[in-house]
């Protein structure tokens, strides 16, 4: 009986430990300098506050390819990247700008 009581106590203690999954969900797509992407890929980005942001696809030579404006919320935001039209491009920068036109983040996408 004593042994059973001890086992239940340990299960109670361990069951109350912080969930490890919560730490993984906070990973920001921009935390890496390079990311391999495929068409229709969902990404998570962390925004500092609620605001209007722009995501830009910029060529290696600095030429603007596409811009999307969206309303973001503080914290994690899910977005989708489409690259099927970039048939002649293997690398492109993904940049995050705020409403003031300041670049917040940048990552090099290697199109798979």
């Amino acid at each position: 009986m004593k042994k059973i009581t001890t086992l239940l106590f340990l299960l109670l203690i361990l069951g109350c430990q912080k969930d490890y999954i919560d730490d993984i969900a906070d990973i920001n797509f921009f935390d890496q300098t390079e990311q391999v992407v495929y068409n229709n890929q969902s990404i998570d980005i962390i925004l500092p506050k609620d605001d209007t942001y722009s995501l830009l696809l910029v060529g290696i030579e600095g030429n603007l390819i596409a811009r999307e404006r969206f309303n973001g919320v503080k914290g994690s935001n899910k977005r989708t990247v489409y690259v099927s039209l970039l048939t002649e491009i293997t690398e492109v920068y993904l940049m995050l700008y705020n409403s003031s036109g300041n670049k917040l983040e940048e990552v090099l996408l290697k199109i798979n």
Binding site: L57, A66, E68, R79, T80, V81, Y82, L85, L86
Partner: protein, 796 residues
């Protein structure tokens, strides 16, 4: 050879000087025939063969009836020669020969025996002769043919109408003997030379076939055994005059070539200072006699060969056919005349001294005298009903005595006559053999002057010939030739060398997609804008007199409805094209491609734009007898008004009524031009109310933009076009397809497009989406100022 010479020497032993000289001549002839001998059925005796000889019988040369010392080389067909038979004994114990019976075979094609009673030497007696008509020696392969006693015993005669056998016998059985071996000849006979022919075997002419020679003492006949005839006893096959070496100045038979014979004439010294014909022929027979080298001692055939027609039938002295000297020579020039067109040809023959002209006018293989006359001087003759491309054999005979000399053959085609052209020589119409038999290599290169923005290697061509009205058939064995990167195409191997066929080089049809892409690149808003500007300038009168176009070809390209002029109708079709309409026919390459010989392209007159049609085929323009061609063809495109994808003419401002302005050249105007003016485009996507909005805003920065063309590409798997709104203050256009939209604006009136023009598109989504990044892309096509200057576009 050593054996041969040895035998000659031993055969000549004991002969008199004159006989030896004659024999040397004879042997010399034989030596010249050694190659024939070695390849023939007979071979000469070896030293071993002749070491056992006891006697010999030889034919000896005794000249002509009138001159016993006459050289063989002076003999001509028709002359009579004299031959004798010499008997020799090589056995010291068998001398005092008093019996000889020698058979001589004669080829009647070459000789005619002149009398049935030969002349026997006065020193011999008991003579007789008889003839074996139509007979020829059948030598036995088992017995040496030159062992004539052996042949006597084992050989036989067979029937052959080309030959006859003459038997010459002397016989004196008296005890003192005739000592026949001491005579230069015991019998001689005459032959008339009928012909000479290198095709005859040397042994066919005249030779000793068999014989019996003996000493006949009181104790009985003692034969000379073996008894040999010398092996090279034939006089017949020596040509009266050996043909001179054929010289090929022109390597192969073909165009601008003839064959000739050159003669030394009027050589009186070779005929006892006597002439045999008129020094200057007065008629055709005179030429016949002059060049009858086989019968005339005063004529020698000195040269023959193949040379250029130009050299043969034009002058000057420094470039004429071979001759022995500049005086007293003559030529027979033969070739084929191939008229480039049908009808009556006027020929002119001009010479100093005489000449005549023969022609197979009906191409039946018989060449006849044209009757043009003999000269000196210029004469003309018409030859009628000649057919283009047919090879007509002709002959020109010419003689030069002394002093001035020349020879010209010229002619006029029916077209030349109609045009009033002068007589002229053209070596391209002369062949050394029938043109149909000429093996030639065509060399045909087309240099397509094609705009660098058009990838030449994407195109290939083939060759076709007209097989009927508007019908074209591919040449046999032809295959596609891909253009080189510089636009050139070597179609040499693709052409059927049949000058009767009208042939074309034809571009292979690209895929409809590639064709549309090419057209889309070539015909853009700048072309339409320029066309409108031209119309709103002075060109509104449909008389191509505006000053916006600087080259006539621009009017041609702007005539997009292909009605022969450039007017508003064309601009409407162009606008329709920008809006995705079908007024601009794009059914195949020939509906948009324009091929113009570059020299003409550079000088297109604005008043003659209807002369230049669209086509993807070009006539090869083959001229009979011409085998080397280089064509420079410029490729331009219907609708390419500003010549952005068509070469800019190099030397042309031939626009009727235009005022030459400072309008910039249209060439080289591409996006990304260095130092060009620049405008900015702000692009942005956004999801609003479940739809995707894509917007372009222009910032012209004070630059007056007359036309702008852009392209939007969208992901058709996610989006579907819904609508668009433009705010440009200009004439807008859009061509919406399932995966892209071509759009833009142009000012069709005074002024410029709005500075802050906005182009906005709305797309429905085919599935729920949370983002639109990458679903829509914008591409720049072009922008031009109101002065038609190309402007760089920067997307911001």
């Amino acid at each position: 050879m050593k054996k041969l010479l040895y035998f000659i020497v031993i055969t000549a032993m004991g002969m008199s000087k004159s006989v030896r000289q004659a024999l040397v001549q004879t042997y010399f002839i034989g030596l010249m025939l050694i190659p024939t001998l070695l390849l023939g059925q007979f071979s000469g005796p070896s030293d071993t063969d002749t070491s056992d000889r006891e006697g010999g019988a030889s034919l000896v040369w005794l000249g002509t009836p009138s001159n016993a010392s006459e050289s063989v080389s002076n003999i001509r067909v028709g002359d009579t020669i004299v031959l004798g038979i010499k008997i020799s004994s090589y056995n010291a114990s068998k001398t005092s020969i008093d019996y000889a019976h020698i058979d001589v075979q004669i080829d009647k094609r070459l000789y005619t025996y002149q009398n049935q009673n030969p002349t026997f030497n006065s020193e011999v007696s008991g003579n007789s002769q008889f003839v074996g008509a139509n007979s020829k020696m059948q030598f036995s392969n088992n017995h040496d043919h030159y062992d004539i006693w052996d042949q006597w015993q084992n050989g036989s005669y067979v029937s052959d109408s080309n030959y006859e056998i003459h038997h010459f016998q002397t016989s004196d059985t008296s005890a003192d003997g005739n000592e026949v071996e001491t005579l230069d000849w015991y019998v001689k006979f005459k032959l008339k030379v009928n012909a000479f022919d290198e095709a005859y075997d040397y042994t066919d002419g005249v030779l000793i076939t068999m014989g019996r020679v003996s000493v006949v003492p009181s104790t009985g006949e003692v034969l000379l055994d073996p008894l040999y005839a010398y092996p090279y006893q034939d006089f017949s096959n020596e040509p009266v005059q050996a043909a001179p070496t054929f010289t090929n100045t022109v390597a192969n038979d073909g165009q601008n070539a003839i064959k000739y014979k050159s003669f030394k004439i009027n050589d009186y010294a070779s005929n006892g200072d006597a002439s045999e014909y008129d020094a200057h022929p007065t008629n055709s027979a005179g030429f016949d006699a002059m060049f009858d080298y086989g019968n005339k001692k005063t004529t020698t055939w000195t040269h023959q060969g193949r040379d250029t027609a130009t050299k043969a039938l034009t002058w000057p002295w420094s470039n004429i056919l071979p001759r022995h000297a500049n005086d007293n020579f003559g030529w027979i020039i033969e070739g084929y005349f191939v008229p480039p067109s049908s009808g009556t040809y006027k020929f002119q023959l001009n010479s100093d001294d005489r000449s005549d002209f023969w022609f197979d006018a009906n191409d039946d293989g018989t060449i006849t005298n044209t009757g043009i006359g003999m000269g000196n001087g210029s004469r003309e003759v018409d030859i009628t009903n000649l057919t283009a491309g047919v090879s007509y054999k002709f002959r020109v005979r010419y003689e030069q005595g002394a002093g001035g000399a020349n020879l010209y053959l010229k002619w006029k085609s029916p077209e030349d006559v109609a045009a009033g052209a002068a007589y002229a020589f053209n070596g391209n119409s002369i062949y050394s053999i029938d043109a149909d038999d000429v093996t030639v290599t065509m060399d045909y290169t087309i240099n397509y002057n094609i705009d660098p923005d058009i990838t030449a290697t994407d195109f290939s061509v083939k060759t076709y010939y007209e097989s009927g009205t508007n019908q074209y058939t591919a040449n046999t064995g032809q295959s596609a030739v891909t253009l080189a990167s510089n636009g050139s195409a070597d179609i040499s191997d693709q052409i059927d060398i049949d000058f009767s066929k009208i042939q074309h080089v034809v571009f292979d049809e690209p895929s409809s997609t590639d064709l549309a892409t090419t057209a889309a690149a070539a015909v853009t808003v700048a072309d339409v804008y320029l066309a409108f500007q031209e119309l709103t300038d002075k060109g509104i009168n449909n008389n191509e007199t505006g000053n916006k176009f600087t080259h006539g070809i621009q009017y041609v390209n702007a005539d997009i409805d292909k009605d022969g002029d450039f007017d508003f109708d064309d601009t409407f079709v162009m606008l329709d094209w920008l809006n995705g309409g079908t007024e601009f026919s794009l059914t195949n390459l020939s509906s948009v491609m324009r091929l113009i010989e570059t020299s003409a392209y550079n000088s297109v007159a604005s008043t003659a734009i209807g002369n230049y049609t669209t086509t993807s085929k070009y006539p090869l323009g083959l001229t009979s007898g011409t085998f080397t061609y280089t064509k420079n063809i410029t490729v331009s495109w219907l609708g390419d008004v500003n010549l952005s994808h068509s070469p800019t003419p190099t030397n042309n401002l031939s626009v009727t009524g235009m005022t030459v302005s400072n309008s910039p050249s249209m060439s080289g105007k591409r996006m990304g031009i260095v130092n060009a003016k620049e405008i900015e485009l702000y692009i942005e996507n956004e999801i609003k109310d479940g739809k995707v909005h894509a917007k372009v805003r222009t910032t012209n920065a004070g630059i007056p933009i007359g036309a702008l063309q852009l392209k939007l590409v969208y992901d058709k798997g996610v989006l579907k076009y819904n609508q668009h709104t433009f705010n440009t203050g200009a004439t807008d256009f859009s061509n919406v397809t399932e995966d892209h939209i071509s759009f833009g604006s142009l000012k069709t009136e005074e002024g410029a497009i709005n500075n802050q023009s906005i182009y906005e598109f709305v797309f429905d989504t085919l599935k729920p989406i949370d983002s639109s990044l990458g679903l829509i892309l914008f591409e720049t096509i072009e922008a031009v100022t109101t002065d038609n200057e190309q402007v760089n576009i920067l997307i911001q």
